[in-house]
């Protein structure tokens, strides 16, 4: 019904929309989400042909090209067949007419039906949006923001449009009104196609069946709302969800590194993307469709960094790790949860090459790992369970952190030293000469743990396996370390395999949780789903016994 092809909109020299493609069918609701400045409103205005600025491309509405339509014909369509609810409620309503007349006005103007019939219809609409008859004669300034929004919605529907564009329809409303209006909009009859423009994922998830993510004037990901929100494919979509406070996801909030800048060559997101490669800087990625989902990314969306296939390890008759299949995506935290003895650490050691698997294989970015050379260890690092033991008592803090660089033969001695000191600072340890020359037995548990983290991070690995990184620490130090890892993930796109027996910790730090019991992965899924609706009895038991504040 609506098809937008290669839409460009420029204000002056800045490109607001850069070749946007979109398709909307009858009765469908599509949500366009993006941060402010992504070009969402411009998109709505261009469909209404109300945009100021140079527009090129094609917008076809029921086969008619809107961009080249004569003014009069466009006017017949605008408000009549295509209606829009604007973002800013305050300035839209005419202050000298009461609301009933305002809602009736477009009906009268376009359909030329009698005034009474028009008023009748307007009254019905207002009532449907929860305004009682007694308020019909009120003037806009007498209404609250929520009531004004209802009037606008009623007004936009006055002529039974075939396409309704809702620009931030809920942004000025409180949560309970949102809920109510959301339900009303959902119940609206099926023929009208709707385009919901919003930065608010809650609104998008409430109102839409399909979701498109707008960044830098292009759609970078689209698909069924439920699936996109559950398993985002584009790094930006995932980051957007991570930054959004809501009652569904359980991981701590994370921002997106950098700021939206434009113009940007290549992929608009590449300066903020943690998995960008050189092509991302040079070439604009096309939106590639795969069934119902589509993603515009040179790397095909979030890449799978490490995967294990049927990985097994037996010690005699004991199956410590039994046919484990795991995938760890770039920039993702996977929590491996299970009681001690369930094979978590063995699994980690197999990945690191400290144990040889009895069966199965490991893939790093799709290529099978056979011999682990220095190249592998540069990308995959591990924080061992016991920080005191994993540091040599003969090496000072600085020497310990420099050791990986020495083994790898990175740079000159000076550069190694600088890098080590910088990393020591990053994990919030003092950079004084005194501290750098301290031996491990003079450090506290928290400091030891930080030194091991600095040592694992000094080579800028892509994947960090953290084996109970907080088990030796008291809560406040532990929290800082977990925050530190989350920040590193935000800034470097670090993937983390977080091994823990504590599902309460896993819930806060991970995107996905895999539950391990007797060497097998018995349950795996997005953290919120595992925590909210566990399927296995063992997972339920883990959840039941997890830390909580439960005064009796």
């Amino acid at each position: 019904m609506l098809e937008i092809k290669d839409l460009h909109v420029n204000y002056g020299r800045a490109g607001i929309l850069n070749g946007l493609n979109l398709k909307l069918e009858r009765g469908e609701t599509l949500a366009i989400v993006g941060e402010s400045g992504a070009g969402k409103t411009t998109l709505g205005l261009s469909i209404m042909c109300l945009v100021e600025g140079r527009v090129s491309g094609s917008i076809q509405f029921q086969g008619k090209e809107l961009l080249t339509l004569p003014k009069q014909e466009m006017q017949a369509i605008r408000w009549n067949r295509v209606a829009m609810v604007f973002q800013n409620v305050n300035n839209v309503l005419n202050p000298v007419h009461n609301i009933l007349n305002q809602v009736a006005e477009p009906i009268i103007e376009h359909r030329l039906s009698s005034k009474n019939e028009a008023r009748e219809k307007a009254g019905e609409l207002l009532e449907r949006f929860g305004l009682p008859r007694s308020r019909f004669s009120a003037y806009p300034h007498q209404l609250s923001g929520g009531e004004q929004q209802r009037v606008l919605l009623a007004m936009s529907l006055a002529n039974d449009p075939e396409l309704l564009i809702l620009d931030e329809p809920m942004s000025s409303l409180d949560v309970t009104t949102r809920e109510e209006l959301g339900n009303l909009l959902q119940q609206m009859d099926g023929d009208c196609a709707r385009l919901v423009i919003t930065h608010d994922l809650d609104t998008a998830s409430r109102l839409s069946q399909k979701l498109a993510v707008l960044y830098g004037g292009r759609i970078i990901e689209s698909g069924p709302t439920r699936e996109v929100l559950r398993y985002p494919r584009h790094p930006y979509t995932r980051a957007l969800i991570r930054a959004y406070p809501n009652m569904t996801t359980v991981k701590d909030l994370q921002g997106i590194k950098g700021r939206m800048t434009r113009p940007v060559s290549g992929c608009a997101f590449h300066p903020r993307c943690t998995q960008a490669i050189s092509i991302c800087r040079d070439k604009v990625p096309q939106l590639i469709r795969d069934n119902e989902r589509a993603v515009a990314c040179h790397r095909g969306g979030i890449i799978t960094l490490l995967s294990t296939v049927n990985l097994s390890k037996s010690f005699g008759s004991l199956k410590a790790v039994d046919s484990v299949n795991l995938n760890i995506a770039s920039g993702e935290t996977l929590a491996l949860v299970g009681q001690s003895g369930s094979g978590k650490t063995t699994l980690a050691k197999i990945i690191m090459g400290l144990h040889t698997p009895t069966d199965g294989s490991i893939y790093l970015e799709g290529s099978k790992i056979t011999n682990r050379g220095k190249e592998f260890y540069k990308r995959v690092q591990m924080i061992f369970q016991n920080p005191g033991e994993s540091l040599s008592h003969r090496l000072t803090v600085l020497e310990s952190v420099m050791e990986p660089l020495e083994i790898q033969g990175t740079g000159t001695k000076e550069q190694r030293r600088d890098k080590a000191i910088q990393t020591i600072g990053e994990v919030e340890l003092p950079r004084t000469e005194d501290f750098l020359n301290t031996y491990p037995h003079h450090l506290s548990g928290g400091e030891l743990q930080r030194v091991t983290i600095a040592r694992a991070l000094v080579m800028d690995p892509d994947l960090l396996i953290a084996d109970e990184p907080t088990s030796f620490l008291d809560a406040s130090t532990g929290a800082k370390i977990l925050k530190l890892l989350l920040n590193l993930q935000e800034h470097r796109g670090l993937s983390i395999l977080h091994i823990t027996h504590d599902i309460a910790t896993a819930r806060k730090v991970s995107d996905r949780i895999a539950v391990m019991l007797d060497g097998r992965i018995i349950e795996e899924g997005p953290s919120n789903e595992i925590v909210a609706s566990p399927k296995q009895a063992y997972t339920k038991r883990l959840l039941g016994s997890a830390s909580a504040l439960r005064p009796t």
Binding site: F376, Y377, G388, S390, E403
Partner: protein, 281 residues
């Protein structure tokens, strides 16, 4: 975890005594050319003289000055001792550490060879081989080394095996470290005290073996050695010469071995806390 072997040895009375004895013997060996009145090999017609102001310990059956021989003998003893100590320790380290780190079939082969050597009594085999090839000092050092690294290799392997499982070595491996790096940077420093003890064992054994072989008349009879002195003196045991010929050589040999034993005992105390006496606690 920090064990300062030097300090521990200094602090123990036995260790100090051992070090003093060893230092004296080493000084004698080094200064022998300066302080000995005669060339130890220079023969004269004045044979079997009793001690006098010109010959403090008299002369032997071919007229050589016994005092000079005694001083020079220290050098021979220590040269063989330390030579064997160093070479056999190196062999112990190479085979012990590599067996521990590489493991598998290689480990099996090395350890079975070690077993084979240990079962056969070293003294007898050394005597047989030495009797056959009549070794000079360098060959003697190599010969004794070849028979004395096995025990050390076994001890070092065992220790390296337990070190290998330690966290910081696993950590080093996951930074991509090679076996050589791990051996050099992490295992050898932690083996420190054991290496010292094994080294002293080697030295002591070699000093004893050298004297023993010489006493039995195997090897170079022209060598200035305490063992040769004792053997020659024994042939004249019906005379009084044993007092200034046999006895001083025997005492010097015993003193050297006692000194080495004292030092190794002190070092062992460091390694095994159960051996620590009350004075340390």
């Amino acid at each position: 975890m920090h064990i300062d072997v030097k300090k521990e040895i200094r602090q123990s009375g036995i260790g100090r005594a051992g070090v003093i004895i060893l230092v004296l013997v080493v000084l004698i060996a080094l200064l022998a050319p300066l302080i000995s009145p005669y060339d130890p090999l220079q023969q004269s017609t004045d044979s079997l003289l009793a001690p006098s102001t010109s010959h403090w310990l008299g002369t032997n059956h071919v007229g050589q000055d016994i005092w000079s021989q005694l001083l020079y003998g220290a050098g021979t003893s220590l040269l063989v001792g330390f030579g064997v100590g160093i070479i056999s320790l190196l062999l112990s380290i190479i085979f012990g550490v590599s067996a521990a780190l590489i493991g598998g079939v290689y480990d099996q082969i090395v350890m079975r060879i070690v077993d084979a050597f240990i079962i056969v009594p070293m003294a007898i085999v050394a005597i047989l081989v030495a009797a056959y090839i009549k070794p000079d000092i360098p060959v003697l050092i190599l010969l004794l080394s070849a028979f004395s690294w096995q025990g050390g290799a076994r001890v070092i392997r065992a220790q390296a095996l337990s070190l290998k499982e330690m966290g910081h070595i696993s950590a080093s491996r996951v930074f991509g470290a090679s076996g050589l790096y791990i051996a050099r940077r992490h295992i050898l420093p932690d083996l420190g005290p054991i290496l010292l003890v094994e080294f002293i064992y080697g030295v002591r054994r070699a000093v004893f073996m050298e004297a023993g072989l010489a006493f039995l008349g195997i090897g170079d009879p022209m060598l200035v050695s305490w063992g040769v002195m004792m053997r020659d003196a024994m042939r004249f045991s019906y005379l009084d010469v044993w007092q200034w010929w046999l006895l001083p050589a025997g005492v010097m040999l015993s003193l050297t071995i006692v000194g080495l034993t004292f030092v190794s005992h002190a070092a062992e105390t460091v390694l095994d806390p159960r051996l620590r006496g009350a004075e340390v606690a």
